[in-house]
Amino acid sequence: MSAAALVTGLGIAAPNGLGTDDFWSATRSGKSGIGRITRFDASSYPAQLAGEVPGFQAEQYLSSQIRSQTDHMTRMALVASDWALADAGITPDQFDAYDMGVVTASSSGGFEFGQGELQKLWSLGRRHVSAYQSFAWFYAVNSGQISIRHGMKGPSGVVVSDQAGGLDALAHARRQIRGGTPVIVSGAVDASICPWGWAAQLAGGRVSTAEAPDRAFLPFDAEACGHVPGEGGAILVVEHADSARHRGVRVWGELAGYGATFDPKPGSGREPALHKAIELALADAGTEPGDVDVVFADAAAVPELDRQEADAITAVFGPRGVPVTAPKTMTGRLYSGAGPLDVAAALLSVRDGVIPPTAHVQQAPGYTIDLVTGQPRTGEVRTALVLARGHGGFNSALLVRAA
């Protein structure tokens, strides 16, 4: 069979913790990073809560030259890539440049940077638009900048599938590993918490307008009223099993199975396709539903979408057949950053035998899933399934397991 794609490094920038240790100690204890928006004055908007990454000082890590040409989300992605490589014990000079690639996902590119340049264009004129606009906004920016920073020339890529994209990127990284490339830096970091990004997110109609941070993002709860947007995500080092073995490094786990489907057109009357993505991921990993120890849910907190997700989980695993959790209740929805962050959380769950809780949620009657709420749940975790769904109908499922 194909070579195993292992995760050997984690780099995390999350609203409830910068860096793996802070993120995980907050997540396992149910500590939320959702609060009032500080990045701009949100008082005139109907939604005023977000998950912002705390304490990220780009000047601690990045030169002024890099900072001036990058959006906030690219800066976080670059630093997360540094941390992931350090965690993997990799310095790029250990590998041939063509043996390392970069595959990331994005949802909205460097949108805050883009707002700044649009503002200059329309208020001051075209001569005021930055020479960096052409490559700071577009969706490929993080893959390009990470490859330059670390001298990585191997097979690379960028995918956009809204919130599902982060898992699609990891699956594509696995594809490149199986194709023979030893190291792929992968994952996603997203952010569009700026007035212009906020207007676009509000237009989507799925953002919670609740005012209390602990009552605003409540998937599978009777009070579910939309989500809180967040920023950040995770960058992972995905490595060929032979390379990891040769280097003798600690392995977080294996990207063991993946499936992706697309929902039928709204109004078609046909069933949603999430359950099929789960089945494909299980089959791809050669795993039975009974082997899965936890499901990290997409957790839209839109009642219809929660219902679809709960139905898909129940269809595959049976009523209360597997613990389900949504630690993104502590970060908000991070768009393409969400999937890789959940994969990181799943690998930390495997390491520690702890399933983090779904914060603030009381499961509504009528859902027959086993939602982990209140306290973290302890017990061996060897196999975890991560789900991510993107607006428009994208469904991705990624199965990770102990190596």
């Binding site: 329309w122 390009g144 020339k153 995918v159 956009v160 699609d168 099929k276 428009g392």
Partner: protein, 423 residues
């Protein structure tokens, strides 16, 4: 399915010069140019005022009023092209498991036109930093995240398999089709509707390329403004468009008696890890992508009959890739016709890679190599056979098509007439 061969059985193109594959090939084979002074808005404040625009009426091409309202122009171009490709392939999806039908769509800059237009409104002409969200169009979120384009194509063709946007800047159109071929080879799908789209001709795009002088200021002669490999070239001409394909496995295409345009015989992508916009003159990383694509196709340099160049018409690009062709193909580079259709249809960023795949498979179909228009005085450092001015009848069984873009991406694909596969 591993190791299976993937072929193109349907083509749809919406490019400057006319909607539909027939109009596209007419333009290329006659060596006409579709570049002109920008007409969709007043370009006079800008340094570069020329572009290759499409005269495109979405209603005329079957989109409903609600689809037109909902979709950015780039999505409209993609859907119209996807419908043409599916019709051209003759495939009937009624018998296809929708989970085995997928969509990948390349786009470098997503809904730039829609975002630029709507930003101007919600910010009241850039005056309000805290924009008025109440002035936003209801589908603004779909402009924010361009995977909405893939959703539109998937809905149009009834796909429920793997679906994504591939967004690697100006190589997106190659990488999207390369990705689709990989999905069929690994068994994740039986049929892929794939290709790329971009509609970037908008003030913010002009401004950002003005700022780095990437686009040509040859405003007094727009029809001849795109001049790849010419000594007088001074930047690219922005374009727009989409090309979509139906990809399927060779044996199932044969079994249903499909017309086979070409096999996607090899594909590879590498990064230069050098600079977000700059290129080293030696073309090392593009040459590596070409070598890998050739190796995957089990071909030698001598098997390549025609090179469809990136040929953007910037000083550095055309030298960079001339060096890459020599480095990867050796002496054979000097014997092989090379041309850039960007001389005629401009550079439509993420879309152009797919539009160039369309040109490549049509060259195979017609045994005609499209020319490089406007090439009168070759740059001494660009010393290959660039097929100046007029198309050439040329036995074309295998084409190398390449792309190079911001972010450092370098991609190469080998397309080959399916020997022994029948057509």
């Amino acid at each position: 399915m591993a190791g299976s061969r993937v072929v193109i059985t349907g083509v749809g193109v919406t490019a400057p010069g006319g909607v539909g594959t027939k109009n596209f090939w007419g333009l290329l084979s006659e060596g006409r140019t579709a570049t002109r002074r920008i007409g969709s808005f007043d370009p006079s404040p800008f340094r570069s005022q020329v572009a290759a625009e499409i005269d495109f009426d979405p209603e005329l091409h079957g989109l409903s009023p609600q689809e037109i309202r909902r979709m950015d122009r780039a999505a409209q171009l993609a859907v119209v092209s996807a419908r043409e490709a599916v019709a051209d392939s003759g495939i009937d999806f009624a018998g296809t498991d929708p989970y085995r039908l997928g969509v990948t769509l390349g786009s470098a800059v997503g809904a730039t036109m829609g975002l630029d237009r709507e930003y101007r409104v919600v910010s009241d002409g850039g005056r309000k930093h805290l924009v008025d969200h109440e002035y936003a169009v209801p589908h603004l979120y779909d402009y924010l995240v361009p995977s909405s384009f893939t959703a539109e194509v998937a809905w149009a063709v009834g796909a429920q398999g793997p679906a994504t946007v591939v967004s690697t800047g100006c190589t997106s159109g190659l990488d999207s089709v390369g990705h689709a071929a990989e999905l069929i080879r690994e068994g994740a799908a039986d049929v892929m509707v794939t290709g790329a789209t971009d509609a970037p001709i908008s003030p913010i795009t002009l401004a950002c390329f003005d700022a780095i002088k990437a686009t040509t200021p040859r405003n007094d002669d727009p029809e001849h403004a795109s001049r790849p490999f010419d000594h007088t070239r001074n930047g690219f001409v922005l374009g727009e468009g989409a090309a979509m394909f139906v990809l399927e496995e060779l044996h199932s295409a044969r079994a249903r008696g499909a017309h086979i345009y070409a096999e996607v015989a090899g594909y590879a992508s590498r990064c230069n890890a050098f600079h977000m916009t700059g290129l080293r003159p030696d073309g090392t990383e593009m040459a590596e992508a070409i070598r890998q694509a050739l190796a995957q196709s089990r071909m030698n340099p001598e098997d390549i009959d025609y090179i469809n160049a990136h040929g953007s018409g910037t000083k550095q690009n055309d030298r960079h890739e001339t060096a890459a062709f020599k480095r990867s193909l050796g002496e054979h580079a000097r014997r092989t016709p090379v041309s850039s259709i960007k001389s005629m249809v401009g550079h439509s960023l993420g879309a152009i890679g797919s539009i160039e795949i369309a040109a490549s498979v049509l060259a195979i179909k017609h045994d005609v190599v499209p020319p490089t228009a406007n090439l009168h005085t070759p740059d001494p450092e660009c010393d290959l056979d660039y097929v100046p001015l007029t198309a050439r009848e040329w036995r074309t069984d295998a084409v190398l098509t390449v792309g190079s873009g911001f972010g450092g991406f370098q991609s190469a694909m080998v397309l080959a007439a399916p020997r022994g596969a029948g057509t």
